[in-house]
């Protein structure tokens, strides 16, 4: 309800009075408003942590009356499906739901993800029927009051359900009630009604349906100072990381750990590709902790991937039966439990808590204070140009005789380019950005299969050795299992060869002129002025050539006093601390050096 409108008196009677006093207009006459019984309701909305149901146009609710529960799913061509939910506790995976049509409907969109209770609402609902001169219902209204909504007058919201074939009545009732200050939400058809309900319930609970913690901030513009923009983006990645921690610790589903690792990887990539606009010392500390987190999470994720891939790999066995791989699955599961305990310990450690707190404080300060200097739009163009060049040049040098190491390195460069395109997405032209990502993905897919097959072959061979060593002679690994693992390695080798053969054509497609045009459009010539906070700065602008010694206390805005790692101040350029690698190269050093390709 917007300010300045009259506040209507609460309740059903007020709605009746307003509508009956409206008279006849546009051939629409309201003769009566009938009220039905008042209902109490209590509902829990459920979805995965990444809104898979919402993104598929579905809303899942748990309706509770006393000790019994009913699950109801609405929307997306499913109409409405329901099943009893007695004995089901949430969070739960799809396999934990009662077998039937509802579970089948949710299986594909949810896949591995657990269902989490998102919000719980209760209140009262009063139905009203608006009648025409034939005393026929032409509009249905529900006055819904949410408990604890902070609305002391208890006015609630009026949901308006148009009765099919009477659109003019719905328009008239909406206009009349809105003019009187009521909050009217028009719901179209029967299918949209529960979806709109879910949407408003979730928003009322302070949630933003469909939005993920790692989604980039909407308020970044091309002229936003680069340091602020990068800090905001890194804050979003930190949100994503933190959001994944409880689910990872509770082991609700394997995707939480995956999300956590994606957040770590994105953060590391952002630091590597644009961290030079942030305080160097803080960047260095964060990079170290992110590397630690990456290492901490790798063993468990690797085991998850093997366990998840195993059923599919087993179907490819020809000479052996899938059951021959059971001892391998048991081995992986045993190790998984051990690795999980180690990971949980790490995520609960003071080190992790300190990293999150300190990193967030740095990012918030930089994001709030901003700085003059390079605008993020310019930085984006510069970084896309560089990342593209770093991918295309070695890519052109790949031949049939290149070693797997070269292909692996190229894949990493491709990832860098992908991250740059995603990192700066808010300030890049959407059409060109998406098109380039799509083309890049086609190359990365074959490089991915190539590399993954390589790694899996090595892993399976390594696992065989470990299983033999661990089982000893008392309970030897069945020969069938080892031979089946050998057959898997053969299949993986074939996958790798196929991917290798496909690489040439995919890469050639990426460097064809049509795709180069996207790069040119995304990288207009830039004149990047160096950012203020590329490396530790002295309080007074140091004259050119002044050396900052290792150990000097240097005040840095947004961080406080930091200890310099040393370097020489170049006119107009920040100091490049010794040993900090190419990441700390002055931003503008190679600006305008010609476009890639």
């Amino acid at each position: 309800m917007s300010a300045g409108r009259p506040i209507p008196p609460a309740g059903v009677d007020a709605v009746r009075r307003v509508l009956l006093g409206a008279g006849t207009a546009g051939g629409v006459r309201i003769t009566d408003v009938r009220t039905g019984a008042s209902r109490r309701w209590r509902r829990t909305w459920l979805d995965s942590a990444d809104w898979r149901l919402h993104r598929n146009g579905l809303a899942l609710e748990l309706h509770r009356t006393g000790a019994t529960g009913r699950l109801v799913v609405h929307g997306a061509g499913a109409g409405e499906l329901a099943c009893p939910a007695d004995g089901v506790t949430f969070p739960c995976r799809v396999a934990g739901l009662p077998a039937g049509e509802l579970r089948d409907r949710l299986a594909a969109p949810l896949a591995l993800r657990a269902l989490l209770p998102l919000t719980d609402l209760s209140g009262t609902a009063d139905d009203l029927a608006v009648l025409d001169e034939r005393e026929k219902t032409v509009v249905r209204l529900t006055l819904e009051t949410v408990e604890a909504s902070g609305d002391p007058a208890g006015r609630g919201a009026l949901r308006l359900d148009e009765v099919r074939g009477y659109p003019e009545h719905a328009r008239r009732v909406t206009a009349t009630l809105r003019a009187a200050g009521f909050d009217v939400r028009v719901v179209g058809d029967r299918l949209a009604r529960p979806l709109a309900e879910a949407e408003s319930a979730l928003r009322a609970a302070g949630l933003d349906p469909g939005r993920l913690p790692g989604d980039l901030p909407r308020r970044i513009a091309p002229d936003t100072p680069a340091d602020r923009a990068v800090a905001m983006v890194l804050s979003a990645f930190l949100d994503e990381l933190e959001a994944a921690v409880p689910g990872t610790i509770a082991d609700l589903d394997p995707e939480f750990l995956h999300d956590l690792r994606v957040a770590v990887r994105r953060s590391r990539a952002a630091l590597a590709l644009a961290g030079d606009v942030l305080p160097a010392v803080a960047v260095e500390a964060a990079a170290r902790e992110l590397t630690w987190l990456g290492d901490l999470t790798t063993p468990l994720r690797d085991l998850d991937v093997h366990l998840l891939d195993l059923p599919e790999l087993a179907t490819r066995l020809t000479a052996f039966a899938p059951a021959d791989l059971d001892p391998l699955a048991a081995h992986l599961t045993r190790h998984r439990e051990r690795e999980r305990r180690l990971l949980v310990r790490g995520l609960r450690s003071p080190r992790f808590a300190r990293f999150v707190a300190e990193w967030r404080a740095v990012l918030e300060r930089v994001a709030a204070e901003g700085a003059e200097g390079t605008a993020v739009g310019e930085l984006a163009a510069d970084r896309v140009r560089r990342a593209d060049r770093r991918f295309v040049r070695p890519g052109r040098r790949i031949t049939d005789s290149s070693s797997p190491r070269h292909l692996h390195r190229l894949r990493k460069r491709g990832k860098e380019l992908r991250y740059v395109l995603e990192l700066f997405a808010p300030v890049l032209d959407r059409g060109h950005q998406r098109a380039l990502v799509r083309e890049l993905k086609a190359v990365q897919d074959v490089l991915g299969v190539f590399q993954d097959s390589e790694v899996q072959q090595e892993t399976i061979s390594g696992l065989a050795e470990r299983m033999i060593a661990e089982n000893g002679s008392d309970a030897p690994v069945p020969v069938g299992t080892l031979l089946a693992m050998g057959e898997l390695v053969t299949h993986l080798r074939q996958d790798q060869d196929t991917a290798r053969a496909a690489f040439g054509a995919r890469f050639a497609a990426f460097v064809r002129p049509r795709v180069r045009r996207h790069v040119t459009a995304l990288t207009p010539p830039t004149r990047i002025t160096p950012p203020v906070r590329a490396v530790p700065l002295t309080r007074a602008a140091p004259p050119a050539g002044v050396t900052v010694s290792v150990g000097d206390a240097v005040p840095v805005r947004g961080v406080g006093d930091v200890v310099s790692t040393g370097g020489v101040v170049v006119p107009g350029d920040p100091v490049a601390p010794a040993g900090s690698g190419s990441r700390s190269r002055p931003v503008g050093a190679r600006a305008g050096a010609g476009s890639a390709g």
């Binding site: 329901a82 029927a129 219902t137 009765v163 099919r164």
Partner: protein, 260 residues
Amino acid sequence: MKVVATYAIKGGVGKTTAAVNLAALAAADGLRTVLWDLDPQGSATFLFRVRPRVRGGARGLVRGRRPLDEAVKGTDVIGLDLVPADFRYRTLDLELDAMRKPTRALRRLVEPLADEYDLVVLDCPPSVSLVSESVVHAADLLLVPLIPATMATRSLDQLVEFLDALGAGGHDGAAVRRPEVLAFLSMVDRRKRLHRELAETLPKELDTISEVVIPALSVVERMADERSPVTVFAPRSPATAAYTRLWTEVACRLGLLEAR
């Protein structure tokens, strides 16, 4: 989507009453239901307080100038919509006769509703006509009310003969789909010995006659005053219980309630 048609060769046998109550029960069971009042008298339309008028009339509909879903009106029963009657439906036969493949016309008109509805109920005018042929072709189940009289089985025999003839070829020469037939005794007065005897014996003699009997009760007659299905305004009456049993049988035959 399934199509049920209430059909009788003669009028006043409880055909519209059955169509309206079954449609209301289907909607209450959560099926998205639409009732098409094909009878130009428009009794079902009157009952639901809807104006008996369809833009373009019979001609507009059968010639496809106006899609059927444009004519649909919501009723006071949640989940139940209505395609109202129109006095111009009395010329529906003539309109159909002027078309190619007239027996297929109703099915063609109803098919686009499949995305929106689980069940279509056709309330047909009492006659043996081209409209009847088209209804038979469109329906998955023909629901036939029978008055408990010694001639009751004869009218059912006539219907079966009619369906057999249609199977060999309808008005336009093309074979007509043969729907399942479910007859039931309607307006049964338990005080009459003949009614009681027929209600007892007929379902045993013929598989096509349901064991469910719809009683002649004053509460059913009150529908016209209440302007509402008896299942809605008198949910605890014996009439509602009887219609509920009949609906369950219909729904099971059509496989509509199995998944729920």
